[in-house]
Amino acid sequence: MLASLFRFKGGVKPPTHKAESTGRPIAPAPLPSRLVVPLHQSIGGTPKPVVAAGDRVLKGQLIGEADGWISAAVHAPTSGTVREIAMHVQPHPSGLDALCVVIEPDGKDEWIERQPVDYRLLPPEEVRERLQQAGVVGLGGAVFPTHGKLNPSKTVPMEELVINGAECEPFITCDDLLMRERAEEVVRGIAIFRDLLQPNKVLIGIEDNKPEAAAAMRAAVDALGEPFFVIQVPTLYPAGGAKQLIRVLTGKEVPAAKRSTDLGVQCFNVATAYTAWRAIAHGEPVVSRLVTVTGNVHEPRNYEVLIGTPMDELLKLATPHPDTDGIIMGGPMMGFLVPDIHVPVVKATNCLIAHNDRLFPPKAPEMPCIRCGSCAEACPHELQPFEMYWFARAKNFGKTQEYAIFDCIECGCCSYVCPSRIPLVQYFRFAKSEIWAREREKNAADGAKDRFEFKQFREDREKAEKAEKLAKAAAAQAAKKAAEAAAAAAAGDAAPATEAPVAVGAAEDPKKAAVAAAMARAKAQREAAQPKNMDAVTHEQEREMAAIDARREAAGIADAPPAAAEKKAD
């Protein structure tokens, strides 16, 4: 087994600076003055706050409810009072605010009622659900909700479960200490993952600069009688990248477009396994984590820190040197200077490095790329950083994608070796976020277009429906009126024959028909109201009347004679 190690191309060997913080055992950090717990600490939906200002909470009580399947719950790290739910600066390179629950500890550190279970008696869905409810996320840095990675693929059989204890970044030692001191619980946690995923074998990868951790893990594996392989991998940054470790242990390469499960591999961090075990077997949600505090300090050490502890309070425990001018969260290769030293420790915080210019001398100004190719040689993903840099710099994002920019894991090897000191990774991050933003905009525009077109379609349809209804009503009216008129006309002296065309016409044009019907009605009325004194008129009187009618007609004020009216109506 040990003989069949693979290797990945590239990689660098920066000074490890690990010995500083491994000399002392893990110490619990004291309760801070206040805890600022961000609600959004994992990939996926932002949990909804379920407490209000003024509430008393117990340690481990739910304060943020998972929103959707890919989202993990957030809990109160200690007992105390909720002071506010407000926006606070985040440990994020943007320096922007996000919603946090601020808790003032009461000093009692009183737990909720914990409900340990034997996971082997539970159906797998319930184990996953419990992990979600306990807020278990990947503690290696990616903070992906763990339960979301524990669904075995239906099509591809799970071959290898890779457990990541490589911890390749300089300065960071929290996984090392965890394996040294709490190996048994880590192994038990791995057993949970194994039982849920049913892989053929379980490979625990540890860099060969951590012999104590490897020995402790081997002893724990033997003591528990588990068939896990503890494998020491060569120390080479970034061997602890999930894709690199999978490559080294299994020889499989995971492309950007695929998930490792598609290749029958899944990868978890050792600290994740530990928290999963605590969550299931002790009923303790993730309220603390191990953080390495190192760099420009007197006493570098690993602390068990409550989530939400302000970083400056944590850093004070290790007594930073007076010339410290900032805090790096994460390692020197992939970490970043936090925007404000009061930002809280979150689930993704594995290491705090006190920064000063002696430890991290400022880079000399960037020079033009000389196309030496060192970056391509160092890239563990066999990319061509200088090409991607060229196009990212020119904002030609389509080209950067052709050079597989999304395969870049932002490990920083290329920037590390570049003789021209070009901050290559910053260009790649810029290009990636620009591409994502465009994608979002495009999707929003497509959605807007669809809704706009649907609204127009709906309005047209409503208009058509209305017109049709009106026409129908008018036609019915007209037909009714025409029928009435016909009946009235039949009762009077008018010839029914003259009415017929009007009725026929009505069907064709409701408005015209309505007019015609009204005229017919008036005529019928007029005819029905024949004067009664006409029976006994003399010839002279008749002549006189005819003359009057003729005059009136000539003046255009007479009621048109029936025949003329008919012609007009047609």
């Binding site: 943007s94 996000a98 850093l315 930073p320 410290t324 030293i341 260009y427 620009e434 807007a448 706009f452």
Partner: protein, 187 residues
């Protein structure tokens, strides 16, 4: 004799190819106008009518016909003009109006009287509400077109620029590394 055969072969070839082309032109007929679609894909679909056309598609059609200039869409900004110029091989022109950051409408729900006029004005169905009920904007769907502002009888709709959050924050173009001054008081 040979020449007749040659002519016959060529004629046959012509007939066969002609038939094939004729068939292909029916079978693979392109629906709609591809140029209009390409132009429309560049327009931001805000549907605001600031270009003086009743929506992005009519404007795209007008551009395709050569009736409209390419610099009339303020939401698309200079970048949109640039992309249209690239697509159509026309010259880049400065935008006819000033560029504004993307905005989103907000209804003051206390003041709203529920007249439904804004719903009718919204081109992309981003407002929900019912007669005499409070109305509200579905912010992710709002394109910021401002068409709902004029019809509101109580003037309770206002526009706010879309704020930057951690989710939509973008890494900046790396020119000079700027370190926040607040870090000096660590330790």
């Amino acid at each position: 004799m040979d020449i007749l055969l040659a002519i016959a072969i060529m004629a046959l070839g012509a007939v066969v190819l002609g038939a094939a082309l004729g068939y292909a032109s029916i079978k693979f007929k392109v629906e709609g106008d591809p140029l209009v679609e390409k132009i429309e894909a560049i327009l931001p679909q805000t549907q605001c009518g600031q270009c003086s056309y009743p929506g992005c598609k009519p404007y795209a059609e007008a551009i395709a016909k050569g009736e409209a200039d390419i610099n009339l869409c303020p939401p698309g900004g200079m970048e949109g003009v640039q992309r249209l110029a690239d697509l159509l091989g026309r010259e880049v022109k400065p935008l006819e109006a000033e560029e504004k950051p993307k905005q989103v409408a907000i209804i003051d729900e206390q003041t709203c009287i529920g007249c439904t006029l804004c719903i009718q004005a919204c081109p992309v169905d981003a407002i929900v509400g019912a007669a005499k009920q409070m109305h509200t904007i579905i912010a992710p769907l709002c394109t910021g077109c401002e068409l709902c502002l004029p019809p509101c009888p109580v003037e309770c709709i206002l526009m706010a620029p879309v704020s930057e959050t951690i989710d939509n924050w973008k890494w900046k173009y790396p020119v000079v590394e700027i370190k926040p001054a607040a870090l000096r008081d660590a330790a």
